[in-house]
């Protein structure tokens, strides 16, 4: 009914700045063009529409970047972002992997969002975000270009994350003065989901991860939660599109109670008694999957794990893409404190 749609559009427009609304609506429109009802994805058009940016070994605003192969045979690339220490205007290619010099250097392994299907490590929105993270955390950021659905289903993204973690962990040039790499995992949307699963694997393999940062992480389940029903279609996201992405990512025939989607659901792993990294979970109050995200936080708490919930009542998805709202700054401050407190 036209009337209700009117209300919906006005609602989302009222809670974000206009340019944010334009940005996210643009993604929504583009993404609608890409998802086909039969579960296939218009990958060519997706790559055509996605705005990308090359790495840049020339520092811009104190950060330079370059791309590396984590795994040559699978073409798994990551983009590395490093702070430029005000030295030369140009970083030598030979210096790209120069050892970090500070006492403690956090290394943030970042997994971009896109509901497992969209975006890449070189998408401009994520390149921009990673550069900010370098600045606020004085960290090296490693953004993983993981394989995407529907061409590559579970567990490909997790496998790639795991490969990246191992790679980072074994780089001597990333070691702090204590000869250890100080690793944090961070991600938004599907990236947040990947963070959880890679952290699990890390724990099981005794690789220490100092903290998990989950920004609007993508979780779900078979049940239709209150928030899903209440916010369906209201703030850029619909239940229908969420369902599409899970169908594209999960193994064929699996439902949304699969542990990849629902880690604390009926098929989830028990986290009691294991040394899971502390977590910072950011939940946007206008995100339709917030009940699943809140359940995730509760799940961690019940398992005796350390978790901080940052609930931003009036935030929508994507608020962290543009520095034009208070939520953005709140989150950046929290991330900075989270990564910093662990010297």
């Amino acid at each position: 009914m036209a009337g209700i749609n009117e209300v919906n559009r006005n609602e989302s427009k009222m809670v974000v700045p206009l340019n944010t609304w334009v940005l996210i609506s643009n993604f929504k429109l583009a993404y609608n063009l890409l998802r086909r009802p039969d579960g296939t994805f218009n990958r060519h058009l997706a790559e055509f529409l996605d705005r990308k940016v090359p790495a840049n070994a020339t520092p811009v605003d104190g950060v330079f970047s370059f791309d590396v192969f984590i795994n040559r045979s699978t073409s798994l690339l990551s983009r590395i972002y490093r702070p430029a220490h005000g030295e030369e205007p140009q970083i030598n290619i030979a210096d790209l992997e120069k050892p970090v010099t500070a006492e403690v250097v956090p290394v943030i392994i970042f997994f971009h969002g896109g509901s497992f299907a969209h975006s890449s490590a070189n998408s401009t929105i994520y390149d921009t975000l990673c550069r900010r993270l370098v600045g606020i955390c004085k960290a090296v950021v490693v953004s993983v270009n993981y394989r995407r659905a529907p061409e590559n289903r579970y567990p490909c993204a997790y496998d790639d994350g795991w490969a990246a973690l191992n790679w980072v962990n074994s780089r001597t040039w990333l070691q702090s003065k204590d000869s250890k790499v100080h690793i944090y995992l961070a991600g938004d949307s599907s990236g947040g989901n990947i963070v959880h699963h890679v952290a699990l694997q890390a724990v099981e393999s005794n690789i220490e991860v100092l903290g998990n940062i989950l920004l609007n992480p993508m979780f779900g389940g078979e049940e239709r939660t209150e928030s899903e029903k209440r916010f369906d279609g209201k703030y850029f996201v619909t239940i229908r599109d969420r369902d599409w992405y899970w169908r594209a990512f999960l193994p064929e025939g699996e439902d949304r109670d699969h542990p990849a989607c629902n880690p604390f659901g009926p098929k989830g792993k028990i986290l009691e008694g294991i040394k899971f990294p502390k977590s910072l979970v950011v939940v946007a109050g206008l995100d339709l999957i917030q009940d699943w995200q809140l359940d995730y936080v509760k799940g961690l708490e019940k398992a005796g794990q350390k978790v901080k919930l940052l609930y931003l009542e009036k935030a929508t998805i994507g608020f962290y893409l543009l520095p034009n709202n208070n939520h953005f700054y709140t989150v950046m401050d929290e991330i900075s404190a989270f990564v910093d407190s662990n010297c």
């Binding site: 206009l18 058009l45 790559e47 791309d67 900010r132 600045g135 034009n324």
Partner: protein, 597 residues
């Protein structure tokens, strides 16, 4: 803790609350460039925050863009599949992109009426007319739709790609099968991408003289110890050369040769070529006036076979040319570097398939003087004539020998008033930068030919900076990626083609590193730089769209296993790169049509 400026942040520019220290919006040159254009054009600025993310939206247009988004959402909500076969252009120009979709929806598919596409040149009689593009069939269905005189090109890329010459194009196909495919396609439906010149006054023109800081895009292939040492030493050697410390440079170059010998793979090869070039520079053994034209053509043929760069160049340029020629009955292509004419069979075939029949096709091929007296140009022209005759395209060829494109007098080229002209340059413009005034003369000649379209393919790199070390480093990164991609072709043992391709690239390396002045012809510049130059010369971009993008991607899958090659869209141009490093860029141009009647 929050000492931020909390200005009202709703609506409009959304620039409130930015904290300078950590969050200074990275203009990365883009927003600045667009803003400068706007100031020049008299409009408002672009939204800086969106510009950083790759979207150009004028602040004054934000509300309008929002309205368009809402409209589209309404329509899409009702009928989600309406736009599934649309061709898209230049997604950075949000307003234009949205408008083109709205226009498309206002003229739903299955209506065969002609319509003028929306643009700010709407009253201009020279403005391109094209038809509504939506195809309701997919290539698999191959439905036949009745056509009117000037129709649009099928997105059935399978055929187009097979017309590309080269042994790789005919893997195990018999000629029979090829003919069957050809027949099948000629009865097929056709949908053309509407030709949309930039509908927004924001064109990719940088403010005069300013190009944002160079982007050094590096994909680190080799983290191995020797690899790093090799690079270190090479760069130190270049540094020594620049400082005229030839004794040190000599010692270093010998060290490089040693290290390179024990370095397997692409890195070792690249290092060897760079070392050789450095040695020439140090010992002042400048390359003799390089290879003669025919040897150089042969090397390029090998390069053509081994990797997809040239095929991509030809393919994307041809796409733009085809679209520009959509309604013309007489067409004339002026090729600035005919060589073996590899670009043209596919175009001739595509023209043959044009519904309503092919146009009369004239090709003017330009080439350098040949050492022997054989008329190489005529030979190529003759072969193309045979092909054209075999498939029923009226064809005329003319060859021109010229030492330099700057020597060409436009009147010699015999451009006729009733024909649509395309000028095509694949890697032929950058040598013009070696002599002062040459490029301006060439561009001016081109303008007087009044081309419908001017296609340019160039290396995506800045190898023309004023400082030796800078050029050296840039070239090192660039050719490392290129060699790595050759390596990626996985040909073991390496074929003749692969080895010759390396020699071909080695010649370029030698020129960039060891030559100077008028001899240094490999003066590659980036798309950003070419855009500025073209804008100042009076050209505006013609955008390549999602259909060309998609077909180019499919071409890569066909010829290169798709493996590390990536097509990227950049403000209406297409680039081919190796993983995340763009290596060549195709752009298309037309003369700026003045607004006044």
């Amino acid at each position: 803790m929050n000492k931020r400026n909390r200005r009202d942040i709703s609506g409009g520019a959304g620039n409130g609350g930015i904290r300078k220290s950590d969050f200074q919006s990275m203009s990365s040159g883009k927003a600045k460039i667009w803003e400068e254009e706007q100031d020049a054009g008299g409009g408002g600025g672009v939204d800086e925050l969106l510009a950083v993310l790759g979207y150009k939206v004028k602040c004054s247009e934000m509300n309008d863009v929002a309205d368009k988004l809402e409209q589209l959402e309404m329509v899409m909500g009702a009928a989600p599949n309406l736009l599934c076969d649309t061709v898209h252009y230049n997604p950075s120009d949000l307003s234009g992109w949205l408008q083109s979709m709205l226009s498309e929806l206002n003229n739903p598919p299955n209506t065969l009426n002609y319509r003028m596409l929306q643009s700010h040149h709407i009253d201009d009689p020279l403005h391109v007319r094209a038809e509504s593009s939506s195809v309701t069939t997919n290539p698999q269905q191959q439905q036949f739709e009745t056509t009117q005189s000037a129709r649009i090109y099928d997105d059935d890329s399978e055929y187009d790609l097979r017309a590309i010459p080269g042994s790789a194009a005919y893997p195990q196909t018999q000629d029979g099968e090829l003919n069957r495919k050809r027949l099948k396609t000629s009865g097929g439906s056709n949908s053309a991408p509407p030709l949309l010149p930039s509908s927004s006054p924001i064109v990719g023109v940088a403010a005069a003289g300013t190009v944002s800081e160079p982007t050094r895009s590096i994909v680190l292939v080799d983290s191995h110890e020797t690899g790093v040492q090799l690079v270190h030493t090479l760069m130190a050697c270049a540094e020594a050369v620049q400082q005229d410390n030839l004794k040190l440079a000599d010692a270093l170059v010998k060290r490089v040769e040693l290290l390179a010998a024990s370095q397997a793979g692409a890195m070792g090869k690249v290092a060897t070529y760079f070392a050789e070039a450095l040695a020439r520079r140090i010992y002042k053994i400048y390359p003799q006036d390089c290879l003669d034209a025919s040897s150089s053509d042969i090397l390029q043929m090998h390069f053509y076979e081994t990797c997809p760069y040239l095929k991509f160049a030809h393919f994307t340029a041809n796409q733009a040319i085809l679209e520009a020629f959509a309604t013309a009955s007489k067409v004339h292509v002026i090729d600035f570097g005919l060589k073996q004419g590899m670009q043209w069979p596919a175009l001739i075939q595509a023209l043959a398939l044009r519904p309503g029949g092919p146009p009369a096709f004239r090709l003017t091929g330009i080439g350098p003087p040949q050492a022997d007296n054989m008329d190489a140009l005529q030979q190529v022209g003759w072969k193309l004539a045979q092909l054209a005759e075999a498939i029923g395209v009226e064809f005329q060829f003319r060859g021109f020998v010229a030492n330099s494109l700057a020597d060409i007098d436009p009147s010699m080229v015999d451009v006729r008033p009733d024909e649509a002209v395309a000028v095509n340059s694949v890697f032929e413009l950058h040598p013009m930068l070696a002599r002062p005034g040459a490029i301006d003369k060439v561009l001016s000649s081109i303008k007087s030919m009044k081309p419908k379209i001017f296609t340019i393919v160039e290396q995506e790199a800045n190898h023309n900076g004023p400082f030796f070390v800078e050029r050296f480093n840039e070239a090192l990164h660039y050719y490392s990626s290129l060699f790595d991609s050759l390596e990626g072709s996985g040909l073991v043992p390496p074929t003749q083609d692969l080895l010759m391709s390396e020699v071909y690239l080695g010649e370029q390396i030698c020129n960039v590193v060891a030559s100077d002045g008028a001899d240094r012809v490999e003066r590659h510049e980036t798309l950003t730089q070419w855009r500025a130059r073209m804008g100042m010369a009076g050209f505006e971009p013609v955008h390549l769209g999602s259909n060309a993008f998609r077909q180019a991607s499919m071409l890569l899958a066909l010829f290169a296993g798709g493996n590390g090659y990536r097509v990227e869209e950049n403000n209406g141009c297409l680039m081919l790169g190796w993983h995340t490093r763009p290596l060549i860029a195709t752009s298309a141009w037309q003369l700026i049509v003045s607004d006044s009647p």
